[in-house]
Symmetry: C2
Subunit: 446 residues, 2 copies
């Protein structure tokens, strides 16, 4: 059995390592375009925030370790360009310009996702960066080290944009953020989004929602981001306007694509060609609440899907149930988390949602140091089912979202959630956990 993997990050290397553990005799070949494998891309903003740390700190395991210790045939600098499904071959070109081809019995496409390059004149100017892989991180750190960066412009206001905002703020840089849409965190309940917005503004970040960047010009190292009626300038520009799945290879090979043009896979992670799997940010998944396909590129799913592919390739068949879009990020002193559907997504999926937003606190009555926690909860008026939760607070949010996530997997009703025996101690929670308060309130609307 010859198992070839295109892409050497989370999904690809998880699959390669697990296949070798399960079937040490199997020939496992990994083709990776860059020199990096197995790193924590999510850690990039935090690493960039700290001049003392090297980008290479984010590397979990180096190529040589995979080769020497795990006997994985790992080819760095190898870019796959074509999948020949009839001949079961992957063809491509090395960074040195040589052509290569590998035949496979089973193939895994784990090509990840790429940062979307916004369609703005001058986006390729020196000093304009995107953020997705270690090379991007290295380039940004080099730019910060070599230039006196006093002001920065970030295009985008999503979670990576906000993490980068904080990273640059940590350097003492004055940050402006701009995006075409008028609504800050449009997927979020307006009250919660307002809390996050206030936190950002408290740190003197200048926000310009509703302005579409049209041009970036460079005059002697000062970059100007120009929109109608607005010019923002700085010594660095970061474009963080979303990601898209790297599904070009799969599309060219005639494999089916799903939402957002991610590669369509079944619960076994098989593409429309059962000899070919896809895993990680390039592939889609089932949503456990709607039962429909979604594309939610997150790290845990990538690692889990890599393992599942290896298990299936090794004959130990497993299926992955799906995702519910649980995510958390940090915005200065705030933790911001979500799981499941927003009210709007719920409507679009055919539910008849009701929702509540409650403000409670992080500690018990009279316990010092308590801070507000905001919970937004969505349920279905027809079935009583819990559909989604959003949460914002200074503490106790990041892990608190996991109980609602579990409840979504279990298909619980809001009433069942309201009966959960959750943890309480004065330093950590009110007697009624904030999510229980929300559930009790939401029950009145269902």
């Amino acid at each position: 059995m010859k198992f070839v993997i295109i892409g050497g990050d989370a999904a690809g290397m998880s699959a390669a390592s697990r296949a070798k553990r399960r079937s040490p005799g199997m020939e496992v070949i990994v083709i990776e375009k860059t020199d990096d494998v197995s790193y924590s891309a999510c850690g990039l903003p935090y690493n960039i925030a700290d001049p003392e740390r090297e980008i290479d700190d984010l590397i979990v395991r180096r190529p040589d370790e995979f080769r020497a210790k795990q006997k994985i045939d790992l080819y760095n600098g190898y870019e796959a360009l074509e999948i020949d499904r009839n001949r079961k071959q992957v063809k491509g070109i090395t960074s040195k310009g040589s052509e290569f081809s590998f035949s496979f019995d089973r193939l895994l496409i784990a090509t990840g996702a790429s940062a979307v390059k916004p369609d703005i004149e001058g986006i390729d100017s020196p000093g304009v960066f995107m953020l997705r892989n270690l090379e991007h991180g290295r380039a940004i750190k080099r730019h910060l080290a070599q230039n006196k960066v006093k002001k920065a412009v970030i295009i985008g206001m999503g979670y990576i944009a906000l993490e980068m905002c904080e990273a640059l703020y940590t350097h003492g840089i004055e940050v402006s953020m701009i995006k075409p849409g008028k609504t800050f965190l449009p997927w979020m309940d307006p009250e919660l989004a307002g809390v996050v917005l206030a936190e950002v503004k408290k740190h003197d970040i200048r926000l310009y929602p509703g302005f579409k960047p049209e041009r970036i010009t460079d005059s002697g190292g000062i970059l100007e981001v120009q929109a109608k009626d607005l010019i923002l300038s700085g010594e660095i520009v970061i474009a963080a306007t979303g990601v898209r799945p790297n599904s070009g290879l799969a599309k060219k090979a005639g494999l089916e694509l799903g939402p957002n043009d991610a590669i369509s896979v079944n619960k076994r992670l098989e593409t429309s060609d059962p000899a070919i799997y896809a895993a990680g940010d390039c592939g889609d998944a089932y949503h456990v609440v709607t039962g429909k396909k979604v594309w939610i590129p997150l790290a845990l799913r990538a690692n889990r899907a890599g393992w599942a592919v290896a298990d299936n390739v090794c004959g130990n068949f497993v299926e992955l149930e799906g995702v519910c879009g649980t995510a958390v990020f940090k915005v200065f002193d705030l933790q911001v988390a979500r799981t499941g559907l927003t009210a709007r997504e719920a409507s679009e999926a055919g539910f008849t949602p009701a929702s509540v937003t409650v403000q409670t606190r992080s500690k018990a009555h009279a316990h010092p140091g308590s801070t507000p926690i905001y919970v937004h909860m969505v349920g279905d008026t027809k079935t009583g089912r819990l559909l989604g939760v959003q949460m914002v607070g200074k503490e106790g949010v990041a892990h608190r979202i996991n109980a609602p996530a579990c409840a979504l997997h279990a298909g619980m009703t809001v009433k069942q959630y309201s009966q959960l025996d959750l943890a309480y101690a004065p330093p950590f929670s009110p007697v009624w956990d904030p999510t229980l308060v929300a559930a009790n309130q939401l029950l009145k609307k269902l």
Copy 2:
């Protein structure tokens, strides 16, 4: 309808308030032995730790508020002594020595639990305290304020003993702890218990497990706790050796008792007499994992049961599913949490448990400030079901226990748990949540 409630803390006042909200015309009478109602008993150790704060800060709502705003007939200083089930009357005596009696249509017994007074000679000496209600807290604070307390002896090493240990340590007091049993936190996985033990010892607390206190003597304000081959001395002694349900009234009235002599109730909180309910620390509950009765006196259940009784009395019938014993407490810089069954409890309940203990970390690879998190997970080898989780760590434990708690309510298998889409971001978690790492490891044993 005349609704009489014996006991004015969490369960009793929750029931009274909710009954008045649901049925404003209902006559609601609360009989409370002490002068305090509706306070946070769990906050006592933290309040005692802080000389600047008054015990009364722990009062959530004062008697007069219940009387004036909620029109509840609240009688403080009224001790119930007898329930006449035939005549539907509660009889008792006031703090001033007068007899009283109230007739009822529905009665709620919400008498709570009491600290167990250990059978030690001299336990009633001045300077020896137990900790259960506000009066105990006031007495301890008064003693600390009026005496130069340099050394303290705590009898017991359970969670209240440990919270009091930290409270006294905060005052700069040298603390010794003693108990007859040889095992520190005997319900806990030994590896996790060892982590907690190390944390306690790091703060120079002197621990004497395996010594049975036999006598307490007082010579001029210096108390000596004497055991075989050991004498510990201090200006204060705290006895924290567990609690027992206040079920004497119910027993005397011929009501059925359950585990630990708690008052036996069904899911509607009805005792063996359907006109009489019990709620809070005096009553038992169903365990959602075993389906059997247990006595786990915790605040959330008390509040929830109070509400449920009010709903049932008001004709809006509800049933409570049960508890899974989710609990968390703080030991210096550690968070210690559990939910569900220990391996031993699982065996006793007829399961065939397997368990694992894993050490992971609180943040992502290479993220600064990461600390260890220890997870112990128990599953059933016959059914694959998740049975219980214990966790210890400096951060990210208190709320992380809630996802396993939710999974226990849902009756999930370890495999189902291992597929949960839990939150990840570098400052808050590794990609694989510590509980997922434990589940993946435990799966190998099931």
